[in-house]
């Protein structure tokens, strides 16, 4: 335990600082993901030795979750897959002149969630890790289905429109190689489409490019943001107070979702937004620029990053591309994660855990002063800002997989996003379908293969059966409640 203070030696503090700064940059720049950045600096970190090297790698990993919200809030371009949801209310807040407040709340939410998840990691890791193993393909299928049903109506306008968007997302997710390998689908002989539609390209198009197109069609006066005084850059007491409950809910939810494989941080942010939409006192404002829509999801994606460390550290299982790089780094430094990590390498283990606390404080101190600088970006007149945003989007789409086809996907998604806006369709449910679709398909196929073709295998375990029942109830609930309402009205 005293090894926690290993993190405070000058060399380790420096490693932590460099890691978190790099992570922030990776988060701010759309397209460049934490896994790619970590792989790039891996050779350097090996030379630093296990403790400092892993502290730096981990710094990039959780630092990226801090910066991810910046471009989401300022220019409607998600900086990281996990910050797609943040665009919904974050960008609206920026348009109202509250960019500074949204950025600051995002940083504070990230700090709260990051710190909580380290505490949870320290206290409950082995216990929770066992629970993560109890989930197999059948359980993930049930969970994915439940998520789709509960979150479909995320933005809460027309249920039919949202459902159509979710289904479109699931359909688009089937383009390219199927998630288990073997078959290539719906590519129309376009070589570039074989890898599927890039998630980064679709989201930067739907949100960023669509915003650029929209700003071109409206008069400049309408799209200009009011200038704000410096004092008003930071959140008001009211905004801070309103952010506390969503932050706490987002933290707990994000941490739990972080234990599962796949794009956990992205799903966590959707779940948090969905929960706020249901339980928040200000739920009616969500979608039109409510601070809860930033505080909850930003806490959730950071907590998910912390939760994702548990399967890695206690079982040696990397569930995300980023933790896979972290695992490679550990193996190359002859530090094997798993049940014996603490026994064999106590200094490394506690040093890295200690650096999480230090790193989160560093990130908060780093990000809060940047708020003032970044918030000014929102006040740049659209005729200068929007061309730059378009370039940023194209770079992001290309750099995701160095594939020019993805840039065309982004352009098409941008036009589609602009049309959807004109017809009052929200792009968020589409993104949800895009995220959950492959997970559903993959786990369904695996569960059926494991059960040797017996469909009963899907509900053979209690958790799976419970979630399927819940999904069924949730999908008929709106119809039933509407019917009851009509009946009671007639009775009166």
């Amino acid at each position: 335990m005293s090894d926690l203070f290993v993190a405070l030696t000058p060399a380790n503090l420096l490693a932590c600082f460099v890691g978190t700064v790099l992570g922030t940059i990776v988060g701010v720049l759309p397209g460049l993901g934490p896994a790619g950045a970590m792989a790039l600096v891996l050779p350097l970190t090996i030379k630093l030795g296990p403790t400092a090297g892993l502290i730096m790698l981990a710094g990039i990993y959780y630092g990226a979750m801090y910066g991810g919200s910046t471009t989401s809030i300022l220019v409607n371009v998600p900086g990281e897959a996990a910050s797609v949801v943040t665009t919904i209310d974050g960008y609206r807040l920026a348009r109202k002149g509250r960019a500074g407040a949204a950025l600051a709340i995002a940083a504070i939410a990230s700090f709260v969630a990051g710190t909580f998840s380290v505490v949870a990691l320290q206290v409950a890791a082995p216990l929770v890790a066992r629970a993560a193993l109890a989930f197999g393909p059948a359980e993930y299928f049930a969970l994915g289905l439940l998520g789709l049903v509960l979150l479909a109506n995320l933005t809460g306008r027309s249920r039919a429109k949202s459902l159509a968007m979710v289904l479109l997302g699931v359909m688009l997710a089937t383009v390219g190689m199927d998630p288990l390998g073997g078959a290539v689908r719906f590519t129309f002989d376009l070589a570039g489409a074989q890898a599927g539609l890039s998630f980064v390209a679709v989201t930067t198009g739907l949100f960023g490019v669509a915003e650029v197109l929209a700003s071109m069609t409206e008069p400049e006066a309408a799209s200009a943001v009011a200038r704000v005084k410096f004092r008003e850059l930071y959140p008001s007491r009211e905004e801070l107070r309103r952010s506390v409950p969503p932050m706490l809910r987002g933290t707990v939810l994000g941490f739990l979702v972080g234990l599962m494989p796949g794009p956990a941080a992205t799903i966590a942010s959707f779940v948090s937004y969905g929960v706020e939409k249901k339980v928040s006192k200000h739920r009616a404002e969500l979608g039109s620029g409510a601070i809860e829509g930033v505080a909850g999801p930003e806490a959730a994606n950071n907590a998910a990053a912390g939760g994702g460390m548990i399967p890695l550290l206690s079982l040696g299982l990397p569930f995300t591309p980023s933790t896979a790089v972290l695992l490679s780094g550990m193996l190359l430094m002859s530090v094997t994660p798993g049940p014996f990590l603490l026994r064999d390498h106590p200094r490394v283990f506690w040093g890295v855990i200690g650096s999480f606390y230090v790193g989160n404080v560093m990130l908060l101190l780093l990000n809060l002063p940047l708020v003032g600088l970044f918030a000014r970006i929102a006040t740049i007149p659209p005729r200068y800002l929007m061309p730059a945003v378009l370039v940023l989007c194209a770079v992001a789409a290309y750099s995701d997989n160095n594939n020019i086809f993805d840039v065309w996907v982004m352009v098409a998604a941008g036009i589609a996003g602009w049309a959807m806006r004109a017809l009052d369709f929200s792009p968020a449910p589409l993104v949800l379908g895009l995220v959950l679709g492959p997970m559903l398909e993959r786990s369904l196929l695996q569960a059926l293969t494991i059960a040797r073709g017996d469909i009963g295998g899907l509900w053979a375990s209690w958790p799976a059966a419970g979630m399927l029942v819940a999904a069924a109830l949730a999908s008929v609930a709106p119809a039933v409640s509407a019917l009851v309402r009509r009946m009671s009205r007639r009775a009166v």
Binding site: M38, L42, L180, G181, Q194, G316, L331, R442, T449
Partner: protein, 315 residues
């Protein structure tokens, strides 16, 4: 004006000197077909760093993933055959072609050198009743289809090794395709009986004594798993390894290939790389340019036959 003239003169001299200057005269690009941080990616990055030092030009690693490698192969094939666009290739050139993901096969490329190979490891949970590979296969023989084996994707190399194992041992297995690292997770969760994976993907669970590796499919035992027998030692006549090497578009001048072959084989031979590779569960296993092409041709026929058997061969 005089400064301009000096600049133009310098340019003329540079251009005139260019054809005689030694290859490579600009940075090289090594396309990796799998994601950043994967075993394939890390091996390629290490080699690129070492070979770049020898070549006097940086070798930039760029990940072009998707469609089982087909996307990256298509990109490199379309590049000028001047020796500057390389691909970190593997058996995936055969699996991607026969699965119908690309219209050309390995003959579109010229081999520079095969550098590493990785066996596939067959593992069960530590508390599973089967102590060695024969016991597991005996169980599979008595109960056809009862042994469920997780692999890293339909038509992937690990899947093909499991199919070849079925053939040699005369048993029936149930193959469950997984993406990245989830096969071993599912073994640990008692949902399936065994997994076939590259050693790098399972090393953490081996050290943590959560799984027991029953056999590896290589010619020799792995230095990092000294107690695990090869399939051959266990009495099953099967040797299959995933080779990786450097290739470039066909038509590249022989001089460039020879220069690259020297740089990359030296890099792979270094103590630094050998040590690095062994931690990633790979071994340095070299073949020169000429031998490499014949080797790929032989390997391609084996892969085609196995893919035919599981119904995934399209061409």
């Amino acid at each position: 004006m005089r400064r301009w003239l000096a600049c133009i003169a310098a340019l003329v001299v540079l251009c005139a000197a260019a054809p005689t200057s030694a290859f490579p005269d600009k940075p090289l690009e090594l396309t990796v077909l799998f994601g950043a941080g994967s075993a394939a990616d890390l091996l390629a990055r290490k080699l690129a760093e070492l070979a770049g030092r020898d070549l006097g030009q940086p070798v930039a690693v760029v990940n072009r993933t998707g469609a089982g490698g087909a996307l990256g192969y298509t990109y490199v094939k379309g590049q000028p055959a001047d020796g500057h666009a390389l691909v970190w290739n593997s058996n995936s050139v055969s699996t991607a072609y026969h699965a119908g993901n690309m219209k050309f096969d390995y003959t579109a490329f010229a081999g520079v050198a095969a550098l590493t190979s990785e066996p596939v490891s067959l593992a069960v949970k530590t508390d599973a009743p089967w102590k060695d590979v024969r016991e597991l296969l005996a169980h599979a023989k008595a109960h056809p289809g009862a042994v469920r084996v997780g692999n890293s994707g339909r038509g992937s190399f690990t899947h093909l090794v499991a199919v070849a194992l079925e053939n040699r041992a005369g048993v029936k297995l149930t193959h469950v395709p997984f993406g990245r690292e989830l096969a071993v997770t599912t073994v640990l969760g008692d949902k399936i009986e065994a997994s076939v994976q590259l050693p790098a993907e399972i090393m953490a669970q081996v050290t943590g004594r959560q799984v027991r590796v029953l056999a590896v499919s290589g010619e020799k035992r792995l230095a990092s798993l000294p107690d695990v027998p090869t399939l051959k030692e266990a009495g099953i006549d099967l040797t299959m390894t995933l080779w990786r090497g450097i290739a470039l578009p066909k038509g590249t001048p022989a001089a460039a290939i020879a220069r690259l072959e020297r740089a990359f084989t030296q890099a792979a031979n270094s103590a630094e790389f050998r040590d690095f590779a062994s931690r990633m569960g790979a071994v340095v296993d070299m073949r020169g340019a000429k031998e490499f092409d014949e080797f790929i041709a032989r390997d391609d026929r084996e892969i085609a036959a196995l893919m035919e058997q599981i119904g995934l061969r399209k061409q």
